[in-house]
Amino acid sequence: MATVELKQLKKVYNRKVEAVKGIDLTVHDGEFLVLLGPSGCGKTTTMRMIAGLEEITEGEVLIDGVSVGHLPPRKRNVSMIFQNYAIWPHMTVFDNIAYALKIKKMEKSEINTRVKEVAELSGIESLLDRYPDQLSGGQQQRVAVARAIAVQPLVFLMDEPLSNLDAKLRVQMRTDLKEIHRSTGATTVFVTHDQSEAMSLADRIVIMKDGAIIQIGTPDEVYHNSANRFVADFIGTPPTNFLSVLVGDKEEEGYRLKGDHLDFTANHPSLAGFEGKTVLLGVRPENIDVLPEAPIEAICRLIEPQGSHNIILAQIGEQRMKLSVSPDIGLKIDQTFRLRLKSGHYHFFDPETGERLDK
């Protein structure tokens, strides 16, 4: 088991495009770390630099304290699961899994037991004689996982391994991957652009944007204490709602907040110094209560039933927001209703920099 450290890691393409802008990151021993971000944010490039598939422009990658930047992939003791599985079509499942072991010149009997072991762990023990084109997408994925486990690497790298699977299988593989991680306890770096995948898998999430790290934290931290507007917007389905409000003077119960069809008070210490300025109020859909005596008037525009809850598209003046409410409330389309933000469950963001005010 191992730790991975990135020190001022930088990648520049064609001497112009900065894909990764010098990031610092430590992956702890046995940790499941997810690199999350929109496409083009540099998360895959970062992982490929750890794997050695991409040349490092500047900075260092250390595995267990040893700098590996100059080593070819085969000497880094990592294993990787690729987005399109990358299992070799001209080899049987057995040969795919055994390939790396054969290169290591392992004993034949030892290879056999190891392959059987990992095949069982990934649930493909009956497919060992098949060729990849005789397998379904999910089975191919399992072969890729088995192949990665078989080499018993210091670090697992997974590059969007679930994105080619259909929705149901994806959720199932998520659980399986997490179980495998628990049983092997290997340090894992997982790349994805799917925030719900990141939330359900990660010990810690690293949110990246434009080649830089925006926030590092546990799923709870990045969800409830998003560092800035980008994270608040990126994490969660539906994402955080943003309302722009004008901060009034401090009154007895708190600051007076005014906006389009909005007028309420909030006691939020971070607002000090923003009197007379416009800020963004961010609130998660589930942190809004629908009550007859609530201060804000809204119109119900759309209802998206989810079974356990309904997603309501509400209109407040010109601004729209989504809220997640119990189906028992019984709202109808175009009905006017009143809502309230749960106190303490909303944050304020600087409208220019997007940073959260109470950080």
Binding site: A51, S79, A86, A100, V151
Partner: protein
């Protein structure tokens, strides 16, 4: 029956007619050369040409003015055609072998004609030697067997050169990014702009200076120039079709770059490599004009066949036999290669 299904059937019929027309425009000439290669010289110069070669000839011997009169039964006119009147059985034997593809020794003929003392005519069915043209072709044509060996040599060397140079060039063009890549890719095709004849004279001089004039290796080099271009283009698209992740995976799982190429890339590219070696083979095997100019005492098989048609031995049935003989190695090669061309893996395709 409604109009719609009638129309559908009419369309299908048209499709069949067109495909039959296309197939027969290829197969009929092939059949003709095949059939001609089994005709005797007499048959080959008849008009119109017989569609099927005769397997047996009916021969009649009778007493003539000078000696024994040799006649052959002509089915078309339903009469005997007199061919020869001689006492020299050696001459008759030769005549029968050369013109009728019938193998009878002078002694056998003499034996048969002895019967003429007691009866007015001797009629017998003679079995034609169907492979006569093939035997003759390899006997009378100067150098046919060595030429065949040379042609095989040339074709194999051409494949070797064009796969090793064109294949690596194709891999480079598919996998690496560098300045002037597209210009290079297109400029490779320039060499195919010039017809072989146009550059044959300069080639003679260059090859002579290299000491490779009239040498199999020299011809291989000339052919390779053209097929390297094609091989490069074909293999580029093949290597592009192999996901780079398959190679990266091998490298992550412990393989060196060379090992990755041998274990992963090469087996996956095999169908495409086989296809382009097929092109190289056919190009080198069939080419006649450059070979005619660039060889003197060591012709290729294609040149030998060509000379059989226009040289002093020129006979259409012999040339046909040569042509068919020339097609056989191609067929064998195709059958061997076919196995690999069909061996495509998953989403890796040519």
């Amino acid at each position: 029956m409604n109009l719609k299904s009638m129309k559908k059937k009419a369309n299908l019929a048209t499709l069949y007619i067109i495909s039959v027309a296309i197939i027969s425009s290829i197969l009929i000439p092939v059949y003709f050369i095949f059939s001609i290669s089994f005709l005797s010289t007499r048959e080959a110069y008849q008009y119109p040409l017989p569609i099927f070669p005769e397997l047996r000839s009916e021969i009649k011997l009778e007493n003539g003015d000078r000696g024994v009169l040799l006649s052959i039964y002509d089915k078309r006119n339903d009469e005997y055609e007199t061919l020869l009147d001689t006492t020299d059985f050696k001459k008759m034997s030769t005549y029968m072998r050369v013109n009728l593809s019938l193998n009878y020794t002078p002694e056998e003929l003499e034996e048969k004609s002895k019967l003429l003392l007691t009866q007015s005519q001797v009629v017998f069915k003679a079995r034609k030697d169907v492979l006569h043209n093939y035997k003759t072709f390899f006997q009378v044509t100067r150098d046919a067997v060595p030429a065949l060996i040379r042609s095989i040599q040339i074709a194999l060397i051409t494949i070797l050169i064009s796969l090793s140079i064109g294949g690596t060039a194709g891999y480079t063009l598919a996998r690496y990014r560098f300045r002037g890549k597209h210009t290079l890719k297109f400029s490779i095709l320039f060499v195919r702009m010039f017809p072989g004849v146009a550059i044959a004279m300069p080639m003679v001089i260059i090859l002579a200076n290299m000491g490779l004039y009239d040498q199999p290796l020299g011809l291989s080099l000339v052919y390779a120039i053209g097929s390297i271009a094609l091989t490069t283009w074909i293999t580029t698209s093949i290597f592009l079709g192999i996901p780079v992740e398959l190679e990266e995976a091998a490298q992550v799982f412990g393989a060196t770059k060379l090992r990755t190429f041998i274990n992963i890339t090469l087996p996956l590219a095999l169908p495409g490599l086989a296809a382009s070696s097929m092109y190289a083979f056919l190009g080198a095997w069939n080419e006649t004009i450059s070979a005619l100019i660039l060889t003197q005492f060591k012709p290729t098989f294609a040149v030998v066949v060509y000379q059989a048609l226009y040289g002093s031995t020129g006979q259409v049935n012999l040339t046909a036999a040569g042509g068919i003989a020339m097609a056989i190695p191609t067929l064998i090669f195709t059958f061997i290669i076919r196995k690999y061309i069909n061996q495509m893996w998953g989403d890796v395709s040519v």
